[in-house]
Every structure is written in structure tokens, then in C-alpha cells.
Assembly symmetry: none
Homo-oligomer: 143 residues x 2
DNA sequence: GTAAATATGTTTATTGGTGAATATAATCAT
DNA sequence: ATGATTATATTCACCAATAAACATATTTAC
């Protein structure tokens, strides 16, 4: 289980130090994809494989399926920790998440998320994100 | 599995560098054909065989099936990597995908796709896929 | 045949990715 | 608190991939 929040910087070549706390659980290979809310999702290989098999079976003849499959596969990249614990984030993924220099890596249970510091700040200060209000909605969902 | 997105240029003779990440999985010859949504599909030989078999089984009596089969077979061409990793894309295929200079090559699981940069940008900015759609699909797939 | 057009091959320059080294900061143990 | 250890940030240098330019074939049209 991934938990916590860590600030890191991305170097001029687009590399990011993975917080040391996460490294063991991640393994040295994993997948980074475009995520929801303008961040990146990081999945361990086994989680990704399941998803990959499902995506592979969607029909190429269906317009929506094509769009979805394109989004996921083209927006994915396999990463490997280099010998100082960094990964390189391709530019299309950096663009998706508005990543430049200051990044935030958070643990979200089964996955990690990578945010630009600015986006993460904005997201958390967003008025329509009142945790008290959300709690009420969660109650409706039976939590 | 092919994943990722790469920008490349097509030279004045209609040749395109295949991204080095894809070369091993593609083999040194493979099939390029007219794809859906104004791009080109690229299949390794074995994936093409699978597709070919499916196409062969479509009923000749069905008008749409005939059109679809013609589209795929007539638009197909076998390509071979030259000794610096390039392929030549015939002009009828380039026309189909509006390919001129700036191209984008994406991995889409079992195949690659080649887009003109302009078309790819347009496709992604159109409402082919909203965030809500993505979220719904993700839930369906249990991501 | 020859010239033009197209295809194929080679060379060089440029870009971008990778690895290593160093510097700074944070954490831990004593 | 102090020094030792680990983690993170930054920089530099090298190598591989790609782009561009150029050269040589091969085909096609006349």
C-alpha cells in the first residue's frame, strides 16, 4: 500500500527521483500512464498486465474503444529505476501533467500519482473540493 | 506490447525512422495499411495473420464486409527496415493519413499507428474522449 | 539510347537519452 | 549536539538515435 506525499524536482532531462519509501514496493520496473485530473498514474507491472489484457480485447471496429485504447497505450511508458533511483518521464506525459520542475509524488493505495506542484496545490485548494461535503457524498455511497 | 508516443519526421523521399523502442518487437519486415481515423496501422507479421484470418471469414454476401475487406487488403503494403531503421511509406498511404513532414508514431498494444502531427493533435482535442468517458471506462475495466 | 524522376544508400550534424560524479540536504545513531 | 549515513539535487560528459544533406543507383518516359 502506497501512502504519503513527497516533493521532488525534475531535472533538465526530464528525470525524477522516486521517493525512496516507494522503491521497494514498486520493484524496478513499472508503468507510468496519463491519469485523471492532470496527473500521472504509476502502476506496478502486475496491475498493468491485467489492464493491458482487457484493453487488448476491445474491438478495433468500435470508435469509442479505439479512442480509449489509444489514450491508454500511447499515454503509457515502461520505466526502470536507474542506479540512483530516478526515472525518465517522456515529454508527452510531462505535458499531460504540466510537469516542469517541481513535482509531488503521492501514494494512493495501489498506485502512485505524480503531480506538478502547482496542479496539486490548485487541486487541493479548489472550492468544490470540500472534504466535509465529499464525506457526505461518500455516505451516500455507503462508506 | 507496443506503448508510447514518439515524434519523427518524414524525409523528402517519404521515409520515416521507426522509433528504436519498437524495432525489436516489430521484426525487420511488417505490414503497414490504411487505418481508421486517418492514420496508418502497422502490424507485425503474426498480428497481421490473425487479422487476415478474421477478414477472410467475413461473409462475401455482405456489402459492408466486402468494402471493409477491400479497404484493408488493398491498402496494405509490406515494409522492410533499411539498414538505418527507416521505412518507405508509399504515397497512397501517405495521402490517406495526410502525412507530410511531422509524424507521430504511437504504440497501441498489438499494433503501431502513424499519424500526421496535425491530425493527432486534432484527434486529441476533439471530443473523441472526454475525461468523464475515460473515468467511466476505467471503472468498467476495474482500474 | 538519354534525361528526368524516383528509389536507395551513405555521410555528417544535431539532438536527446544515459550514466557518472559531485554537491547539498535530510535522517539516523551514538 | 555531532558525525556518519542515506537521500536528493545538480551538473557534466559521453553515447546512441534521429534529422538532414548529399551521393549513387534504378526505373520510367521519351
Amino acid at each position: 500500500m502506497f501512502i504519503g506525499e513527497y516533493n521532488h524536482t525534475i531535472d533538465t532531462k526530464g528525470r525524477l527521483n522516486v521517493p525512496s519509501k516507494f522503491r521497494e514496493a514498486l520493484g524496478d520496473h513499472f508503468i507510468v500512464t496519463k491519469g485523471l485530473d492532470n496527473c500521472l498514474f504509476v502502476y506496478p507491472i502486475n496491475e498493468w498486465s491485467i489492464l493491458e489484457n482487457k484493453l487488448k480485447q476491445l474491438p478495433m471496429t468500435n470508435r469509442d474503444a479505439r479512442a480509449f485504447v489509444r489514450f491508454f497505450f500511447s499515454g503509457a511508458t515502461e520505466c526502470e529505476l536507474d542506479n540512483q533511483g530516478r526515472i525518465r518521464i517522456p515529454s508527452n506525459l510531462r505535458d499531460h501533467a504540466f510537469l516542469e520542475k517541481e513535482a509531488v509524488v503521492i501514494g494512493v493505495g495501489t498506485r502512485l500519482e505524480i503531480w506538478s506542484q502547482q496542479q496539486w496545490t490548485d487541486y487541493n485548494s479548489d472550492e468544490n473540493l470540500s472534504y466535509d461535503d465529499i464525506a457526505v457524498k461518500m455516505q451516500e455511497l455507503g462508506i
